[in-house]
Amino acid sequence: MTKALAVHRDRPPVGFNAWRSAGVAWQITQALLVFAVLGWLVWRGIDAMEYRWQWYRVEPFFYREIDGEIIWGPLVRGLILTIQIAALAGALAIVIGFLTALARLSGSFAGRVLAKVYLEAIRNTPLLVQLFLVYFVLAPIIGIDRFWAGVLCLALYEGSFAAEIIRGGLRGIDRGQYEAADAVGLSTWDKYRYIIVPQSMPLVLPPLTGLLISTIKHSAIVSVIALAELTTQGLNLVSNTFMAFEVWFIVAGIYLVLTVSLSFAVTLFEHYLNKPKR
């Protein structure tokens, strides 16, 4: 049997489709069922431990009001420090990544070797060991405090990943663009500034967002050098109040909100970037 042809070629068939709707509904039901089962298991487990929830005590973790004045609690102060560390380290990582990528693509032998050594050294040693090296060895030599030691360590670590992302972005641009920029007499700086980098932004932005998100997550590791960021504050709160469940749920939630809103913001920015193209 032949299928009946659509009556109007200029009007694709739209509207309610019973079979498709039923399929979607079933998929949503499946997802809800899975979550319900998981939730029930967690709830049963916690219940069996006879953990005493004390959610009413968490408000001062965020802020306290004394004489009409708001005093920020440890979690908010920790969050602010986490954002500072991650923002500085992320920005620095992109700069390092860019320089490393250019060095790797450059004609200079020394530049290529230096970049390669940096990448291999960072990628093949544990982040924790790098942190100790920066904090105990490098920091006293160049005279920086623990805040900058933490920032620098994270920046060096994430920079090695940024370098590969950016290198990929730069190589993803058609050779003709480089040649055209050369042919109209642009200097190397102008060529990258006006032609290559703006075009590689859409290629580089999604993976770079992932990188910034992991910078936020990896910033938790600086708690081992007693920088009072979010995770350190969480540790302190747990040892003071023994409310491990509440505190770690909250800390995880704060990280989640931070990273999800970041990737949402970048999605909006990408939209804006892609707009004038066509």
Partner: protein
Amino acid sequence: MTPSPLVEISGLCKWYDDFSALYDISLTVAEGEKVVICGPSGSGKSTLIRCINQLEGHQQGSIRVAGQEVRPGMKGIEAIRREVGMVFQSFNLFPHMTILDNLTIGPIRNRGMGRAAARALAMEYLNKVRISEQADKYPPQLSGGQQQRVAIARALCMQPRVMLFDEPTSALDPEMIAGVLEVMETLARDGMTMIVVTHEMGFARRVADRVVFMDEGEIVETAPPEAFFSAPRTNRAKLFLGQLLAH
């Protein structure tokens, strides 16, 4: 006063690893002269003109543009590139910039021209290639023929002394070719020095002062177009022209 040679190439050799792409090329192009380079694919035509503005580095021989020696990896290559306009087979417009910005970036960044002056210059050349009403569009919104005309205008905006064309019509649909060739012929009548790699033999007949035939990285024959097309001296040129006419 005899016109001084604008482009002087002598003993030029280039290798890709151990493949000899160009061998002992000598070619002099005088101010105002139009030279068409033709030959089978892989004969080194594109490589030759790409050496002139150092998109490709050469290993032996010398290239002089407007009296200045051009060397691979040299400092100040930008100063030579501003004398040499280039049009590519695949246009290579900057897709993230408007047509106008495509044209003004060279004059502004290389020649240090003011924004307003650069815009005026760009509009003048866009008029010349009959595309001025598209100035605020982006390259992907234009047809191939229009893009190539914009690319010609972009190269002209640098006010170069010589224009290089690297198969400017090979990537175009047949109905787009005439418009581009027309612009090039106008340019030729205005006295621009041109070195054109092309398979458009009609264009070569109408415009060229000399036809240079290349094969396997060497210049095989140089002749005025009439002589070259009606009575090629070498067998390789005869064979090439035969194949060109056969299709």
